[in-house]
């Protein structure tokens, strides 16, 4: 039984929110305390890696549209590559802060994929509106890991990166398959 797209997006929102909370707590307590336990430091990269794998499953069901298939494949690949690099950083296999450039590229190209695969204008529907907002959010948010690669000691880049996932979660939770851009879906909600 394949879940409706909006349900898949809400589940992705839940994962994004959890990743955002993990990244925010890393900013609050500091890298040294957060990375004291390897499992904790590996948690969000592992989630990204697993999420990327699940996105391949979604890709397999996105055969109704070539552009959707390509976009989901790009998100899957971006999540897996970024997750794998962060996992290697968490386990000490990689050490250079420049590896944050991979996360920057993943966010940037994921945002571009959102913008390119939405063929409708901003105000066409809730879904179209959110695609545009998420796309531009990710493109702009790519500056945070880019900044972290260049200035790894400035907390503002890490905080911005963490909050990006919280904002992404809010936007994904706002998704409905059929809905006006703002306001309530309708009396009693969808069937």
């Amino acid at each position: 039984m394949i879940p409706p797209p909006e349900v898949a997006h809400w589940l992705a929102g839940a994962v994004a929110l959890f990743v955002g909370l993990l990244l925010l707590s890393e900013v609050i307590v500091g890298d040294d305390i957060f990375r004291k336990r390897v499992w904790r430091a590996s948690l969000w990269p592992s989630l990204a890696l697993a999420g990327g794998t699940l996105l391949w499953v979604v890709t397999a069901f996105s055969t109704f549209s070539t552009i959707h298939l390509l976009a989901h494949a790009l998100w899957a690949e971006a999540a897996m590559i970024a997750g794998a690099v962060q996992l290697a950083l968490a386990r000490g296999k990689l050490t250079s802060p420049r590896w944050s450039l991979v996360a920057a590229a993943a966010l940037f190209f994921s945002g571009v994929a959102f913008l390119v695969h939405e063929s409708n204008p901003w105000l066409y529907s809730r879904s179209a509106f959110l695609h545009h907002v998420i796309g531009w959010t990710l493109v702009v948010a790519a500056l945070f890991p880019l900044g972290r690669a260049l200035q790894p000691r400035r907390a503002v880049w890490s905080a911005g990166f963490a909050l990006t996932f919280v904002v992404l979660a809010v936007l994904l939770f706002a998704d409905r398959d059929v809905a006006p851009i703002f306001g309530r879906f309708g009396e009693g909600g969808p069937p």
Partner: protein
């Protein structure tokens, strides 16, 4: 505080949009629309964070010299 704040956000959302929580009409809706709703997911994420992540972080903050393997 992150976990409790997240749980609170989910509860506030459920109160603001009660039609999202559709347990009363479960028979008329798909299992996805009964169990997988935004407010419930937000509360679940908050609970997961409180149970899984927060206790270890607080312990490590209070005892920074403690050996993680101990």
């Amino acid at each position: 505080m992150l976990g409790p704040l997240t749980i609170l956000a989910g509860i506030v959302w459920a109160v603001a949009q009660p039609y999202r929580i559709s347990l009363a009409h479960a028979a008329e809706r798909s299992v996805y629309h009964v169990l997988v709703q935004g407010p419930l997911l937000v509360i679940a994420v908050g609970v997961l964070y409180v149970v899984l992540v927060a206790p270890g972080l607080v312990r490590d903050l209070r005892e920074p010299d403690r050996d993680p393997a101990a």
